[in-house]
Amino acid sequence: MSEQGVWSLAWRRLRADRLGFGSLIVVLAYVALTLAAASGLVARDWEKEAGVSFAPPSFLGPDAAESRQLLQAAERRQPGEDYGIADPLAADLAAIAKELSGGSASAARAPTLPLGADKWGRDVLKKAIKGTETSLFVGLVAAALAAVLGTLFGALAGFRGGRVDDFFNWLYSVFTSIPYLLLVLAIAAVVNQKGTFTVILILGLTGWTGIFRLVRAEYMKHKVREYVLAADAIGASNFRRMFVHILPNVSHVVLVQLSLHVVLFIKSEVILTFLGFGVGVDTVSWGSMLAEAASELLLGKWWQLAAATLAMAVLVTAFSLFTDAMRDALDPRLK
């Protein structure tokens, strides 16, 4: 008789779910991209001003009219000639003007880039890759922090009951009576310190409530089951029963919640960074790309907005679909 564990059964069900499995592959591709970007394999030189300012995406072709205009303007402008005296700096100024207009003086600057360039001529594709690294990292680590807190609190409250339960329930009701984004913004305003780890801390420390509620309910259900009573009878300590015996049996709940929170935190990070309370100015994230894109859009430069939106939409969609599939696979009764 072949005995199959719950995880291998879930894995088989997930494999059978084509949409869910496809989503998993997309998510893993993003994780691989993040690792590659973090280790410097790709997009290391994202800050390099590789193209002309607002270089359009390659599939549109170079913006011929605009670059010619800029070049002509640079050549026409000869300060000092109105006065009829030779400007000793004329040659240098002309060179600088040419340099600034992104004309022929900087031959290294590409007229087009795969997904266009931003105001400073930085490659939008590379920025999107670095942005993926930042946003996914923040989402994953913050969700892991929230899951650890939520599981620990939920385990203590559900398993111990009594005063401990009262305390954590009180903490839960305090945190949930303040709307999530308001709480996050208030803390961000007070901390007033940008940075990836600040964002992770803020999101993780405020986002544990949903996980806590579910884990607590699971622990209350499990603590009176026979296997836990048996563990008690052979003298297993409270800690051992909580984290060695019960935790593996509720871990599927935590896993699904972890996955849901990654999505929630990625979205929150984008809003926080957009408002200027997120990752630092030397870091690029989808939120900072959208913040730049807000003013670029008025000039008709839509590619940075499109790149950030697409990168985020594909990941978040895949992550959500994968979460649904994982929940179905782990708990087939729900279907």
Binding site: W170, L171, S173, V174, F175, T176, S177, I178, P179, Y180, L181, L182, L183, L185, A186, I187, A188, A189, V190, V191, N192, V263, K267, V270, I271, F274, L275, G276, F277, W286, G287, L290, A293, A294, L297, L298, L305, T309, M312, A313, V314, L315, V316, T317, S320, L321
Partner: protein
């Protein structure tokens, strides 16, 4: 019911005390000394000392906490640090514009969401159902920022159907002219999550015994869906909408900010940007109280609509 309501009101006290402690902890302890923030770039010790005395932050924490508690019970959070306007006056004048946008937004998105959810729940498992669900997942995965930026650019800036932003004096003009695009964006953003959630509510009802009974006694499908199922599914939907309201009041800040609507949300975001602590503190406390009250109201309402619900 009265006993239950009283008991719940009594239970507000520890939660409210917790919220006050949390806000106090965050703003007065984590936040550090606001005097350095307010004194400007080159502070001299005298200015710092003056500001500290004026704000009361030179007192020990216990005294500061007592001042804060007194402020809450008087409903007087002092004046804004950046404009000097009374915080209570700010709320009184900003509530109207917020509600002008939020009430139509909530009503429209709820009605549209219910209609769409009932439709996909009726054809559950079909291709339409799956396609709508995936479209909702995709729609939800796009940041609200993108909806705002694109809608504003396209419909206000390019096509000129709406003003880009602004606010007038007459209610009709504000509602129909200045809030219109903000409401459209709000509905577009909330539709996807609403349809997904309401669909589960409808599915819960469709599988109930009373639906089979209604069909068995020969009622038309229209009647089963529009009378029997809709009325039962409406209970959790209305509760859900009620519960969203306090959060939306402060949470619609992105929409209010981009469309220039002088509401509470925009005030929050301005306060956050200027480190204007009195306003943020007041909003947090007010919204927390509103959330608790609405939670209780929703539970009581539930009991009144559905006699099977047991209140403990």
């Amino acid at each position: 019911m009265a006993a239950y309501t009283l008991r719940r009101l009594w239970q507000f006290l520890p939660t409210l005390a917790g919220v006050v402690l949390l806000v106090f902890f965050v703003f007065n302890w984590v936040g550090g000394d606001p005097a350095y923030l307010l004194a400007g770039k080159i502070p001299d010790p005298q200015t710092i000392a003056n500001i500290r005395r004026q704000l009361g932050v030179d007192e020990p924490y216990s005294v500061q906490l007592w001042i804060f508690v007194k402020q809450i019970f008087r409903g007087d959070f002092g004046a804004s640090w950046s404009t000097g306007e009374r915080v209570s006056a700010i709320f009184a004048t900003r509530l109207g514009p917020s509600l002008t946008v939020l009430v139509p937004l909530l009503v429209l998105s709820t009605l549209l969401g219910m209609a769409a959810a009932m439709l996909v729940a009726y054809v559950r498992g079909s291709l339409t159902d799956r396609a709508v669900m995936i479209a909702c997942t995709v729609g939800q995965s796009i940041s609200i920022l993108v909806y705002i930026l694109v809608f504003q650019y396209l419909f206000a800036y390019k096509l000129g159907w709406f003003p880009v932003q602004g606010w007038g004096v007459s209610f009709g003009e504000n509602l129909l002219r200045y809030s219109a695009l903000a409401i459209v964006v709000g509905v577009a953003v909330s539709l996807a999550p609403d349809i997904r959630l309401y669909r589960t509510f409808f599915l819960d009802e469709i599988n109930q015994d009373y639906v089979r009974t209604a069909r068995a006694k020969g009622l038309s499908e229209t009647r089963v869906m529009w009378v029997h199922v809709l009325r039962n599914a409406a209970i959790p939907i209305v509760t859900n909408v009620l519960l969203q309201l306090p959060g939306l009041l402060a949470g619609a800040f992105l929409i209010e900010r981009f469309f220039g609507i002088p509401g509470i949300g925009r005030e929050v975001i301005l306060a956050v940007e200027r480190s204007d602590f009195p306003i943020i503190k007041a909003v947090t406390i007010y919204v927390a109280v509103a959330t608790m009250v609405v939670n209780l109201a929703a539970d009581v309402l539930y009991k009144m609509i559905d006699p099977r619900v047991q209140l403990k």
